[in-house]
């Protein structure tokens, strides 16, 4: 019986990928070769299954219920006007990304030769170039936003992708090369609704003493699914601060991976993920130190309500070469219903002996004493719970680039809009 069931699941999965590949247009454009390779890989590689350790908690049923076809978009639904200090690019635009605009000082497009050379390099360095969600993106993305960053870029670069129509897939591919001492703030907005799939693969290479502030706001609705990979290579004395917030997707799987190639860099990661209804939100992060004196400060927060499910797996690798690494990882979770589930797991692999690595994980309910304190000041139980949830979220949300405020993340995440 069990064998028969898993057999039929396997059949469905392989049919899904066959159908997906058949719906794709013929490979073309600057990423033609990458598309061929991605399709080739998908036709051989089975869909991730819960028998694999990395996918143990993550059922792909919401994804296989979709029949997505990559297509450019024709509309921007519900976008706020960009603020004055924001340079916005629409990643699903029917024409080219720039659409006549010129890039702000410090940003330039890579030539196609440079793209050929650099694309996939950081994915490989982070050991995720063959991950299934990456192959899915490579099989379908027809273009890449590839930018060189030199010096300090003044405006915030805002990259928006929206999948708002049933049956569409929006594969987004981004490549950023930060030269020595360059600095950039990027805000990525990923919106999904209806029966759609948003797929993101972003690579960033941070040269010595460069600085990247990165925010990702992934807001879904309904049956929409999100698959994302972020791969970052950091040279010594570079600084990465990446803040992401995810809410509302039927299925969201995000895999940020950071490699400090020679140590001595600073990595700050902050995340907030919310699951309610029957949603599943999953983050698998990995930070690897390949040299000494690297720093990591990671905070992962999650709220699971209703029958929602939150998964966090935080790998930190500190090999012998990474002496005097200072890493801390904290996972804080709020469980708001008896049927909700939270699985959180640090995965520390520490071989070096002279290191400081702290980690902690808490799963709790709203605290009775906090609720009572607010109620004793006249706030109803519901308003008190709302304030506490807001307080929990705000710690991460206020670390997003300032431009995120226009998208009203808190109101959307708490359903106040």
């Amino acid at each position: 019986m069990v064998a028969a069931m898993s057999n039929s699941a396997a059949v469905t999965a392989s049919t899904w990928i066959t159908n997906f590949l058949e719906r794709l247009p013929a490979p073309a454009g600057e990423l033609e070769a990458v598309q061929w390779r991605g399709r080739e890989a998908l036709s051989r590689q089975p869909l991730p299954s819960r028998r694999q350790e990395d996918w143990r908690f993550t059922d792909l049923a919401p994804l296989t219920a979709l029949a997505p076809v990559p297509s450019p978009s024709s509309a921007q639904v519900g976008w706020p006007a960009p603020a004055t200090d924001v340079f916005r690019l629409w990643l699903d635009a029917p024409d080219d990304f720039l659409n006549g605009q010129s890039l702000p000082a410090g940003l330039s497009l890579l030539s196609s030769d440079e793209v050929q050379q650099a694309l996939g390099h950081t994915l490989a360095a982070c050991n995720c170039e063959q991950h299934w969600p990456v192959e899915l993106n490579q099989a379908s993305a027809t273009r890449v936003l590839a930018l060189r960053v030199s010096g300090a870029v003044a405006p915030t670069l805002e990259l928006v992708s929206q999948a708002a129509e049933d049956g569409v897939m929006r594969p987004v591919r981004v490549l950023l090369l930060l030269e020595e001492k360059a600095s950039l703030e990027v805000l990525q907005i990923q919106l999904g609704s209806g029966c759609s799939l948003s797929s993101l693969v972003m690579e960033a290479h941070l040269g010595r003493e460069s600085k990247l502030r990165h925010g990702l706001l992934a807001l879904g609705e309904g049956q929409a699914c999100f698959l994302g990979h972020l791969a970052v290579e950091q040279e010594p004395r570079s600084q990465l601060e990446s803040v992401w917030a995810s809410h509302g997707w039927a299925l969201s799987r995000f895999e940020p991976r950071v490699v400090q190639v020679d140590g001595e860099a600073t990595t700050t990661l902050k995340a907030l993920q919310l699951a309610d209804g029957q949603q599943l939100v999953d983050t698998h992060s990995r930070v690897e130190f390949r040299g000494p004196e690297g720093q990591l400060d990671q905070l992962h927060k999650a709220i699971a309500d209703d029958r929602g499910r939150s998964v966090f797996n935080g790998a930190v690798k500190v090999p012998r070469a990474a002496q005097r690494t200072n890493a801390s990882q904290l996972s804080r979770n709020l469980l708001l219903s008896n049927q909700a589930r939270i699985d959180t797991k640090p995965e520390l692999e520490i071989v070096a002996d002279d290191v400081r690595c702290a980690h902690g994980a808490t799963v709790s309910r709203l605290q009775t004493d906090e609720l009572f304190y607010l109620q004793s000041r006249g706030l109803s139980a519901a308003v008190a719970a709302g304030l506490l949830k807001r307080g929990f979220c705000e710690e991460v949300l206020r670390a997003l680039p300032a431009a995120a405020a226009a998208w009203r993340p808190l109101q959307r995440m708490l359903g106040e809009d």
Binding site: T368, D369, E370, F372, Y373, L374, Q375, S376, R377, G378, L379, S380, A381, V383, A384, L387, L388, R390, G391, F392, C393, E394, E395
Partner: protein, 262 residues
């Protein structure tokens, strides 16, 4: 101020309560009228905080007997937030820290909840800022505390001032202050006591829970109650507090022992 004709605000009759399976309050009787200041004293563990939390409606405590009437209504029947909106205020012995929730926002929402109940209009952000700045002077508190998260990282004294600030904003009819004086240096004590005196009026009443005579040197109580073993063992005037200061609590323990044998 004792006035026989004043309205009774709070009437506690034979109140019994337990936490989990442990009985703590074993028959408390206490009547508080408008204009009065009461002090409750007693050793650690005698049940003073439990009494205050039961009155405010903390869910950890179960009332197993007796009654509490607040301005004629059954207090124990009301949710904690309704009690607060109707003018019952508890200043916590250990004010709770709430990370991520702005103190200003919290004060505004709670003030408006009380105002609505009194039939007054809600204050918008600007009108509220004016009010809060005026009330800050009562406790001589730095406006910078408004921008922080509720009680987060406040020192003991700052938390207590924040409690009195809330009291000043909520304009309660019955204020229960649970050891608001402990952990305060003499200057902070004067400020807090000054705030309490400033807010006391013939229409409201205050119940001070304290260990120390020094608070009662600055706030003169009309009644002093001694609590032991979950009961009020004795009631007197302000001289009872001086007697406790003089003789200590040993005689209270002896009286309690006699009572518990009986």
């Amino acid at each position: 101020m004792i006035r026989p004709e004043a309205d009774t605000l709070l009437e506690i009759v034979d109140l019994q309560a337990r936490v989990e399976d442990k009985p703590i309050l074993k028959g408390v009787n206490l009547t508080i009228k408008a204009g009065e200041i009461h002090a409750v004293m007693g050793r650690n563990g005698s049940g003073k905080s439990t009494l205050s939390k039961v009155l405010a409606g903390h869910p950890a405590y179960t009332v197993t007997g007796g009654s509490v009437r607040y301005r004629g209504a059954d207090l124990l029947d009301l949710e904690p937030e309704q009690r607060a909106r109707l003018g019952l205020f508890l200043g916590f012995q250990y004010p709770v820290e709430i990370p991520g929730v702005s103190n200003l926002e919290f004060l505004r929402v709670s003030t408006n909840a009380r105002r609505m109940e009194k039939g007054e209009e809600e204050l918008d952000t600007f009108a509220f800022e004016d009010l809060v700045r005026e009330r800050l002077q009562v406790v001589q508190m730095d406006p910078a505390f408004l921008e922080r998260s509720v009680n987060e990282g406040f020192s003991g004294g700052e938390k207590k001032r924040n409690e009195i600030l809330q009291m000043a904003l909520l304009d309660p009819l019955v204020a229960i202050l649970d050891e608001t004086d402990s952990g305060l240096d003499i200057d902070a004590l004067r400020i807090v006591a000054g705030g309490v005196n400033h807010l006391a009026s013939p229409d409201n009443a205050t119940l001070l829970i304290t260990h120390y005579q020094r608070l009662l040197d600055v706030i003169t109580p009309d009644y002093v109650h001694v609590m032991a073993g979950g009961r009020i063992l004795r009631t007197g005037g302000k001289e009872l507090a001086l007697e406790l200061e003089d003789r200590g609590y040993d005689w209270v323990d002896q009286e309690l022992a006699v009572l518990e044998v009986a």
